[in-house]
Each structure stands twice: as C-alpha cells, then as structure tokens.
C-alpha cells in the first residue's frame, strides 16, 4: 500500500444531468423561464464510479475489465485528472501519460512534424526534449515519408500511429490506456503490445482498460472487474477474467432466453389459427400445469422423466411469466449444482434421452438418399422465423439443454441436447422428426431427421419427448439458430418451427469457418514452439 503510485480512496464520480435534459439548452430559454440559476444546478445524478477504493503498486500492470458503460473510462479519467472526483481522493505519483484518445489535439492543417512538437508540449514536455526524440517518434510511427505532409492527408492508421508514438515517447511513470489497441491493424496492435512490454520491463506502471480479455490474462499482473461503477472483483487476472466471462455468459443466457421467448410468443399467436382444432387439449402456450405430464405418459418415459418435465418447462422459457423463476434457478444451479430441482433430474435426462431413440432404429439402413426428405426444403432457406404446419402432431416444447438444464450459451466441445416435447391427439403412423442448425448468416450447418437416419416410424400417440443429443458441439464461435420439425415421410408438415431457438457457442480459439473438426498438430523437432497452449474449448 505504501508504494502505491495510484491510490483511490472511496472515490465516487457523479455525472450530472441537468433540468429538462438540456444538452442543447439555450440561454434564451433559460432567461425566458427565469431558470438560469436552476439550470446551472444539477437536476439528476448518475453514479459512474461508486465508492471505489484501490491501490496500484509501482511497476504493476493492472487491467480494468467490465461491460460498456460500467465506469472504466471514467475511472481512467479520474486517475489522469481529466475529471475530478465528486467525493473521495485520488492520489497519483509520477508523470502520467494518457492514451485515452490517440491524436487528440492534432491540428489537421499542419504537418506531422509540427504536430509532434505541439502535441508533445501539450503532453507536458519541452521542445528540446521532443527534438531529441523526434527521429525515434517518427520511426516508431513509420511515417518517415509523410512527416511533412499535413495531418489531414493521413489515413486513420497513420494518424493513430503518430498519436500513439508521441504519447508513449513522453516516457511516463504511469501509462493509462483506454482501449486504444482496438484501433489500427494487427501489426500496429502488436507494436503497441511490444511497447507496453518494454514499459513493463522498465518497471513502469500501466493501467489498462480493455475488452481484450486474452490480453489481460497474458499481460497483466492484476485485473479489476468494474461493474456499474463498483469494483466487482479484483486480483489474479485469470480468476477475475473467469468470473467476468461467467457473468457475461449468464447475461447472454438471459438475453437469448428472453429473445427466444419473444420470438416464440410472436409465432404462437400466428400458429393458434391453423392449429385451432389441435390446440384444444394441448395449446402451445399455457399448457404448463394442465395437460402434458399428467395425461397418458408415453410408454418410454419413466415417472421420473414425467416429474422432471414440470419444472423443466419453467426454465424452458416458454412463458413470459417464468422469466424470474428461470433465471433465478439458473443462478443457483450454474456454479454449484446444489439446487434441489436439477439434481435428481440431470442423470435421468441423459439416459432417457439416449435410450428412447436408441431402442427403435432398425440397424443397417444407414444411408437412404432417395426416400428421405431433408427437413428443410430448399425454398425454406429463405424463410424467416416462423411456425407452420397442419397438425395433428404438435411440437409443444423445445429446450436446448446442457446436462439436463436449459442453456443457451455453450463452449465449443460441450454436450448439447435438444429436447422436443410432442403431443398428438390421434395416433399417427407416418412421422419424421427433423432438426437443422443454422449459423447467423443463414448457412445450414447441419440438418438431419429420423427418416434419413433410417428410423422406421411405427406409431406416435399421446405426449412424449424426442431428444437429439450432440456429444461434442464442434462448432466455432458464433450464434446459431435451430429449426425443428415434425412431418410426414413425404414432407407434409405437421409442425415446423423455423429459427425460433437460439444458442451461442463460445470458444477461446478464434478459429474461422463453421465446423471445428477434432484435430491435433504435430511438429518435427526443428519446428520449435514455446510451451503448449492451455487446452482450449470445453470438453474436447
């Protein structure tokens, strides 16, 4: 604590909003209403930084992470002195260079050379000092050929390089960086990182606000997670980043669940019209407590499975009113798994899911290209989300699950199961269940159905479930949507759900494409790399 070069004690920053949202208020209106004095007083306050206390020791590299608008930038501005705290104290020892906006203060009309001097003076240096380093600054910015051209003729990259170069050559004791690495090309980003490493080696202090979590993990000695103006977690970068990404995933879950609910609600209204006769006993919505589990459980489903469907439906996010329940349950079960409801059901889920398709297939009909119909006819690739079909088979619930719990965010390599709950008021002898996975741009990543995989339909009656399980979700990072369908073998739709269900795949590896085949690299001894990277992806 004693050698802290940056210390904030109980610092709060209130941003004031003035009466009548007067961002562009006018003197005239203030005078007319006689509200000049009151307009100059804050009307409403926003707490951008809320009672933050932290100390950065000399020579440390500290990463600030947090969502947009969480108060990172305000914190940096407080440290650099651009704004002063509303309450609390900020103490900073040493020369600070702020890389908050690169090239702020460049004048477009004058040359790069002149701007270097003016900018250097702005950053608190003498002309002679700058002259001494001038060549170095220009070389770092790679602008030897353009240094005498007016800055307005520079490309964005050149502009940024020059701004960065001037700022880091101030040779600060403390470098405050706000997300500048996001600009510029890859080479420039690398150069910035190298420069930071150099600073670090020389024992300078760096305070870095960034969304580049990899950078924080690799580069920083400590990470601070800011959320809604408060320090949410602080300490070992890997731990803090993990806590942060967990929270982000949770928010994403909620977000996707909410969107899916909304999409489903929209089409449920549409589907109510053609489905009117079929909807009498098991309407797509509102059948929660009423019918499905109670009336005639399908032969394959055990009592345990029937039990489980009840709460499972709550988290299936089918009904708007369940929002609170679903998310709360999610909260409780995700980290510890100690919540009562998921526990018993989880193992049962997996087995029953695998068992029910497992005992039906007649082996040996692996490929039947001719007779099977892919669940999505060609023209449907153009269709946007929606739901159609003539019944009588209805797909009443669709949940995307991981380990028996509804989930929307997965890691590459995770196990994913799609659970379809169907109901048919009359027995049907011709039925096919199909599923399609689409990427955000509409590319079909995978499509299959029970027919092409050789399952011979015998009879479908009452209510039941179909589970489509993927052992290892080998998709690259992205958002994917699901089509699910029940139809006849000739393609007459009973019930078709188009792009109504969303899941997101996350990955530590920024690989490209759609599909990540399981793979490994081997090298001969003379192709040498550093120590192998941490295993990436979830279960792979």
């Amino acid at each position: 604590m004693s050698d802290a070069v940056i210390s904030l004690r109980d610092v709060s920053k209130l941003y004031r909003r003035y009466a009548y949202q007067r961002r562009f208020s006018t003197l005239k209106s203030a005078l007319l209403k006689g509200s000049l004095a009151s307009d100059l007083r804050p009307h409403e306050v926003v707490r951008a930084v809320d009672a933050v206390t932290l100390a950065v020791p000399s020579g440390a590299c500290v990463g600030l992470i947090g969502r947009n608008g969480s108060g990172k930038s305000t914190l940096l501005k407080l440290v650099t002195g651009i704004t002063s705290p509303t309450s609390g104290s900020v103490e900073v020892r040493g020369r600070v260079a702020a890389l908050i906006e690169l090239g702020a203060g460049f004048h477009p009309e004058i040359s790069g050379r002149e701007n270097i001097f003016v900018n250097g003076v702005m950053l608190g240096r003498g002309r002679r000092e700058i002259a001494k380093q001038f060549d170095e600054i220009v070389e770092f910015a790679e602008l030897e050929d353009f240094i005498d051209a007016p800055v307005k003729t520079y490309s964005t990259g050149m502009y940024m390089r020059l701004g960065f170069s001037v700022a880091v050559h101030v040779d600060p004791d403390i470098l405050v960086v706000d997300e500048v690495l996001a600009v510029g090309d890859e080479a420039f980003g690398q150069k910035c990182r190298d420069k930071f490493s150099e600073f670090k080696r020389r024992g300078r202090t760096i305070l870095l606000a960034t969304h580049g979590l990899n950078m924080v993990e690799r580069f920083c000695d400590e990470a601070i997670w800011i959320d809604a103006g408060r320090v949410r977690a602080q300490g070992d970068p890997r731990r803090v980043v993990h806590a942060y990404t967990t929270d982000v995933a949770r928010r994403e879950e909620e977000d996707i669940a909410m969107k899916d609910r909304r999409a489903l609600a929209a089409v449920a209204d549409l589907a109510a019209v053609p489905a009117a006769p079929a909807a009498g006993d098991g309407a797509p919505r509102g059948g929660e407590g009423a019918g499905p589990p109670g009336d005639g459980a399908p032969p394959g489903a055990s009592a345990a499975a029937a039990d489980r469907t009840d709460p499972g439906e709550g988290t299936a996010a089918e009904d708007g009113t369940d929002a609170g329940d679903g998310t709360a349950a999610e909260d409780g079960t995700t980290p510890g798994g100690g919540a009562s409801r998921g526990d018993g059901a989880a193992p049962g889920d997996g087995t029953s899911g695998e068992a029910s398709p497992g005992d039906e297939p007649p082996p040996g009909r692996e490929s039947s290209p001719g007779d099977g119909e892919v669940p999505v006819p060609q023209d449907m690739f153009q269709a946007t989300e929606g739901r159609w079909g003539a019944g009588p088979v209805r797909i009443e619930r669709v949940t995307i699950e991981r380990g028996g719990n509804a989930a929307h965010v997965f890691q590459t390599g995770d196990r994913l199961a799609v659970r379809l709950g169907f109901h048919t008021p009359e027995p049907v002898r011709d039925f096919v269940f199909g599923i399609g996975i689409f990427s955000a741009d509409g590319t079909c990543c995978y499509g299959t159905n029970t027919d092409v995989e050789g399952f011979e339909p015998v009879e479908l009656s009452g209510s039941g479930e179909v589970v489509f399980a993927i052992d290892s979700l080998d998709l690259v990072e992205g958002t994917y949507k699901l089509d699910v369908a029940a139809h006849t073998r000739r393609g007459v739709q009973y019930d078709y759900h188009r792009l109504l269900y969303t899941f997101r795949v996350k990955s530590h590896t920024k690989d490209a494409g759609i599909y990540r085949p399981r793979h490994q690299w081997t090298f001969s001894p003379n192709a040498r790399f550093g120590p192998p990277p941490e295993p990436v992806g979830g279960g792979s």
Binding site: A30, G105, M122
Partner: protein, 275 residues
C-alpha cells in the same frame, strides 16, 4: 485562485506553441499565406474609406482628416477585440476532444484565441505605420508613443477577462455564439471608431451631474476608452490626455480578468462533461 494563476503562467510554452500552430494553420493552403494578415485589414480599410468618402460623403465628420487614418486607428484594435472574443467563446466547444480526452489546461484555449488575434493585430501594424508616414500631417510624438504598449496591454487584459467568461458560458449555453455576434455589431457602432467621440459626447438629455447621455454612455463603454486612446496617441496632435481613463480601465481590466478566471475555474469541472 493564486495557485491556479501561477500554474497558468507555467503554461506559457503551451500557449506559445498553440498560438504558433494557429497562425500556421490559419493560412495553410491559401495562396497568399501570411500576406492575408496584412491584406485583411487593408481591404477592410478600403471598404470603410470607400463607404464614408464616396457613398456617404456628406455624413462623414468634416473635421477629421485624413479620415482613412482615423478609421484605421480604431478599426485594427476592434478587429482584434471582436474576433478574439468570438474565437475565445467557441474555443472550448471546438476543442472538445482536448478537454474530454487529454489532461489539458482548459484556460489555455481562450487565451490562445485572444493572443493569436493579438499577433494578427501586431502583424498588421506595419500597415498602420505606413499609413501614418504617408497620410499623417505630423508624426506622433515619442512621448505619446510610449503609451501605445500600455493601451495594448490593457486591451489584452480586458479581452482575456471577457474571453474567459464567454468560453465558460458557451459550454453551457451554445447560443452565446449567436448572441455575441450581434452584441459585437451593436458595440462596434456604439464605440467612437467610425465617428469621433466629439460627435456624440454632447448629444442626448442631461443625466443629473454626469453630463449628456451620449457622454455617459461613452464613459461606460470600455472599448470607447481604448479607441480614444489609440486615436489620441496615433492620430490627434497634442499630448495624450486620456491616460487617467486608461489607468482606470487597466484596474477594471485586471479585476475583470481575475473575476473571469475565477468564474472559469469554478466551472472547470463541468467542461469535460458538458462539452
């Protein structure tokens, strides 16, 4: 306050660098470049001379000869004053990214605007000297000329004080800019620049104990004292008789500057949020 003022003096280098940048940037890309610093006042002078010697010949005060020289003595300082105030008022808003993104002493910006315009004024002085040599019946006396820098200093103080007020207020009220343009036009015609003080001093009803309204208004107008001082030093014969008013104005200017700085300092924390 005093600590801030001391800090302010430490920004000399920055003010200098920015003034030079402003001057360089202003005419960069123009064909005549710095020549415009001379050409602008010269053209302005030609316009006014044409209007009052040809178009409005009869309206011109008869006892002022040569009229062009008289006009020039007031017009040049006024140009500095009015464009200095206009630019100072806008300086914080225009350079918003400096205030929001860089640790930057905000007071430097209005100061740079005023000082840069002073430099333009000084650059135009050779034209005034040439006009004096060509047109003046008698060269101004040295004992009068020593007052010239004093007048310039007083004007600088006054303009800086007003500029700081305007800059801080413009951040909160953007329409100061439009208001100011009109106030300045009115102010120009309310100041003895295109007419001599004597032409208005005797006009209007008598104000108890203070003389005619015209004279009272002129006495209350700070720039009138500056204009009269410039005219007495450069144009009129005879000793510089307005020095008492000038020194009073200097005291007033110092107070205005201190008040403007304090006001600016008071609002300083709001700039980064409001710009």
């Amino acid at each position: 306050m005093w600590a801030n003022l001391a800090r302010f003096l430490r920004h000399r280098g920055l003010v200098q660098a920015l003034v030079v940048r402003d001057l360089k940037a202003r005419y960069r890309g123009s064909v005549l470049g710095f020549f415009w610093s001379f050409a602008n006042p010269l053209l302005l002078l030609l316009v006014y001379t044409f209007v009052f010697s040809v178009v409005l010949d009869g309206f011109r005060p008869v006892d002022i000869e040569p009229y062009a020289l008289f006009l020039f003595c007031g017009l040049l300082p006024w140009t500095w004053f009015s464009s200095g105030l206009t630019e100072a008022g806008n300086s914080l808003v225009v350079n918003g990214n400096l205030i929001k993104k860089v640790l930057f002493p905000a007071e430097v910006l209005p100061v740079v605007a005023v000082v840069a315009n002073m430099v333009h004024f000084l650059l135009a002085l050779p034209i005034l000297v040439a006009a004096l040599i060509l047109l003046a019946p008698a060269a101004p006396r040295l004992s009068e000329l020593v007052w010239f820098p004093v007048v310039v200093a007083v004007q600088l103080l006054l303009t800086l004080g007003l500029g700081l007020f305007l800059a801080a207020l413009t951040v909160h009220f953007r329409d100061i800019k439009d208001l100011l343009a009109n106030v300045l036009t009115l102010w120009f015609f309310a100041t003895p620049i295109i007419y001599p003080m004597a032409a208005v001093a005797g006009r209007g009803p008598e104000i108890a104990g203070l003389g005619p309204l015209g004279k009272v208004l002129m006495d209350l107008n700070p720039f009138a004292h500056l204009a009269i001082s410039y005219q007495e030093i450069l144009f009129y014969d005879g000793p510089f008789g307005h020095w008492k008013w000038l020194l009073a104005l200097a005291a007033g200017g110092a107070m205005l500057f201190a008040a403007g700085y304090a006001f600016f300092d008071r609002l300083r924390d709001s700039f980064a949020e409001e710009v």
